[in-house]
Amino acid sequence: MADPGYRIEIASQASRYVTFAGAILLVALFLVPFYASRGLVQELIFVFYMLALAQLWNLLAGYAGLVSVGQQAFVGLGGYLLFALTVFGEINALLAIPLAGVIAFVFAFPTALVVFRLRGAYFAIGTWVVAEVYRLVAAQVKDLGGGTGTSLPVAVTNGVFGIEWLKAIFDMRTALARDMVMYWIAFALAVGTLLVVYRILRSRRGLALAAIRDSELAAESVGVDGFRTKLWVYAVTAAGTGMIGALIYLQTARISPDAAFSVLDWTAYVIFIVVIGGIGTIEGPIVGVIVFYLMQTYLADFGTWYLILLGALAIVIMLFAPRGIWGYVAARYNLVLFPLQRRLIARKPSVHETDKV
C-alpha cells in the first residue's frame, strides 16, 4: 500500500501517562470507604453524581448542541421510577436503578418528539416546559405522596443487594454498610458515564457529533443524519440521567416533586460545573466538579450570596473565558487527558524519498 505521507494520531503523550495515573486513582477511589470517614464518603457520593450529571449535560450541550435546561425532568423521573419500582414493584433497588434508566430512555422519545420541534435557544425553554409538565404530573401521583412527596421504606434502603453481605463479612453496622454500597453504585455510575461518553465521542457517532457541532449543514451534506444522531444522544443522556436520579433518591430516601424536578439543583449547578470547568471537553466537568465541591463546602453557608456568586462567576467565565478553566489550561500547556481530536501527523520524508524528489 502506498504511504499516504501522514498518519492519524488520537492519543497524546500526556494521555498515556494519564491512563496509568488514572488507573491508580481509580483503585484508590474504589477503596475509599475502607479508610475514609463516613462524612467524606457521603460527600464523595454527591461529587460522583454531580460529575455524572455534568458529563451527560456536557455531551448533550457541548457536543450535540442540544442546550437543555430541562434535564431535571429525567432526574425526577428516575427518582420517581425508583420509588415506584421498589415500593409497588417490590424490585430490589440495585435492579431498579438500571431499569429506571431503560424506562427513562423510552420516555426520551415522546419527549424529543415535542422538544425537537424547537431549535437552538427555543429548544432550551421547551425542555424546561416539559420538565415542568413532568413535575406537575408527578405531583398528581397520590400513591407517592402527591405534591408533598413521600419517604422510602427502610426495608428498601436497607435491603439493597450487598448490604447484608458486607455486614456479614466485615461485621459492620447497617448504616455503614449502606453508605458503602451507595458509594460504590455512585462510583460505578460516575466512572461508567465517563467511559460511555468517552467511547461515544471516539466512535463514528462521536465524529458525526463533532461534524454537526461545527456545521450541521455541511455534516448533513456528507451524509450525517443530524436528527437521528441528536435523537440518539438525547435518549442515551436521558437514560444516564434517569439512573443517576434513581441513585440520588435511593440515597436521599425521600422524594418530593419540587426537589426531584428542581431546576437549580439538577440543571443550574450542573451547567455551572460544565461552564466553569470547560464546555465541550471531557476534562472540563471533572475540573468543574472539584471547583463546585470546594465552593459548596466553604461558601454554601452564605446562602443567597453564594448563589449570586455562582451566577456572577458563570457570567464572567462565559463572557471572558468561554472555554472554562480546562480550556485555558489545555490551550496554554497543550494538554489533553482524554484525547478525542484526530490529528494528522506528517511523516518526515526519509533520505531515500528526498532523493527521489
Binding site: 442546550v67 425553554i125 421547551g126 424546561w128 458563570a314
Partner: protein, 289 residues
C-alpha cells in the same frame, strides 16, 4: 353553561396578562434573536421596583409604575449595552448561559433585599370593581384593564415599528444587522434601546401581576414559561399572534382549573405542547428562525 362561559371570559382576560409578559420577550426575540432566560425574573424585579417606589414615596401604584418605568428602561439599556451585547453571535450558548446566570442573580438578589415573603400591590377600590354583562355574568374592571392594556401596548409598538425612525432602525437591524450597520445604524445602541423598551412593557406587566396576585422572588421562571409559550403559540415575529397565544394559555389554564384546581398550570403547558405538535411554527408565523 354560564359557568363555562364565565370560565372562558376569565381565561381571555387572564390571557391579557400573559400577553403582556410575552410582548417584551417577543420584542427581544424579534429584534436581536436573543432568548432571555431572565425575562420572568425581570418581570418580578419590576414588580418589586414598583413596590419599593410605593413604599418610599407613598404614592398610588399607577403613579409608582410611571416612576418605575424609566428606571426599568435604564436597567434594560445598561444590561444589554454592558453585558448582553457581548453574547450575541452565531453561538447560542453564551446568551443562554449568561441570562440563566442573571436569572439566579436576580432571584437571590431580590430574596436578599425583600425576603421570601409574598408581596402585593394595592390598587384600592379598583381591585374589586366589576362591570355586569347581564345574564349573571360580570367582569372585573381590573382584568379588563389588563387585556385592554395589552391591546394598547401592542398597538403602540406597531405604531413605533412602522411609523417612527426608531422603529425602522429596529426592523432594519432585525432583518440584517450587518447591512443596517453599513447604513449608519449603531446596532449596540439600537439593541440597548430595544431592551429598554421591552423593560418598560415589562413594568406594565409587573404592575398588573402585582395587583392581581401575590408575588415573591421565586415566581419568575414560571412567568418566563408562560411568556415563552404565548410567543411560540402565536408564531415568532407577530405581536398580535403573541396576544392570541397569551389568550390560549389563559383560557386553557382557567378551563383546567375549572375541572380540577390542581390542573390549572398543567393545562396551560399541555395546550402549548399540543400546538407545538400540530403547528410547530405557531399559529401566525412571520419570522423564519
Amino acid at each position: 353553561m354560564t359557568g363555562l362561559f364565565d370560565t372562558i371570559i376569565q381565561g381571555v382576560l387572564l390571557g391579557g396578562l400573559y400577553a403582556l409578559f410575552a410582548v417584551g420577550l417577543s420584542l427581544i426575540f424579534g429584534i436581536m434573536r436573543l432568548v432571555n432566560l431572565a425575562h420572568g425574573d425581570l418581570i418580578v424585579l419590576a414588580a418589586f421596583t414598583i413596590l419599593a417606589v410605593v413604599n418610599a414615596l407613598g404614592i398610588d401604584v399607577f403613579v409608582a409604575a410611571l416612576v418605575a418605568a424609566p428606571l426599568m428602561f435604564a436597567v434594560g439599556f445598561l444590561l444589554q449595552f454592558l453585558i448582553l451585547n457581548r453574547t450575541l453571535g452565531r453561538d447560542i450558548l453564551p446568551p443562554l448561559l449568561v441570562t440563566f446566570g442573571l436569572s439566579i442573580i436576580i432571584q437571590n438578589g431580590l430574596l436578599e433585599a425583600f425576603s421570601a415573603d409574598s408581596k402585593r400591590l394595592s390598587a384600592g377600590a379598583l381591585e374589586t370593581a366589576s362591570i355586569s354583562l347581564g345574564g349573571g355574568l360580570a367582569v372585573g374592571v381590573m382584568p379588563l384593564m389588563v387585556l385592554l392594556s395589552a391591546i394598547a401596548v401592542i398597538f403602540a409598538l406597531n405604531l413605533l415599528f412602522y411609523w417612527l425612525p426608531l422603529g425602522r432602525a429596529f426592523r432594519a437591524t432585525s432583518d440584517d444587522p450587518e447591512i443596517a450597520q453599513l447604513m449608519g445604524i449603531d446596532n449596540r445602541r439600537i439593541f440597548a434601546i430595544a431592551m429598554g423598551v421591552a423593560m418598560v412593557v415589562t413594568t406594565i406587566a409587573a404592575l398588573y401581576l402585582g395587583i392581581r396576585a401575590n408575588f415573591d422572588p421565586s415566581i419568575g421562571p414560571a412567568r418566563l414559561l408562560y411568556a415563552f409559550e404565548a410567543v411560540i403559540i402565536g408564531g415568532l415575529g407577530s405581536l398580535w399572534g403573541t396576544l392570541a397565544g397569551g389568550i390560549i394559555i389563559g383560557v386553557a389554564q382557567t378551563l383546567g382549573a375549572h375541572i380540577n384546581p390542581e390542573w390549572q398550570i398543567l393545562a396551560g403547558h399541555l395546550a402549548f405542547l399540543a400546538v407545538l405538535i400540530l403547528r410547530p411554527r405557531g399559529l401566525f408565523p412571520r419570522a423564519v428562525d
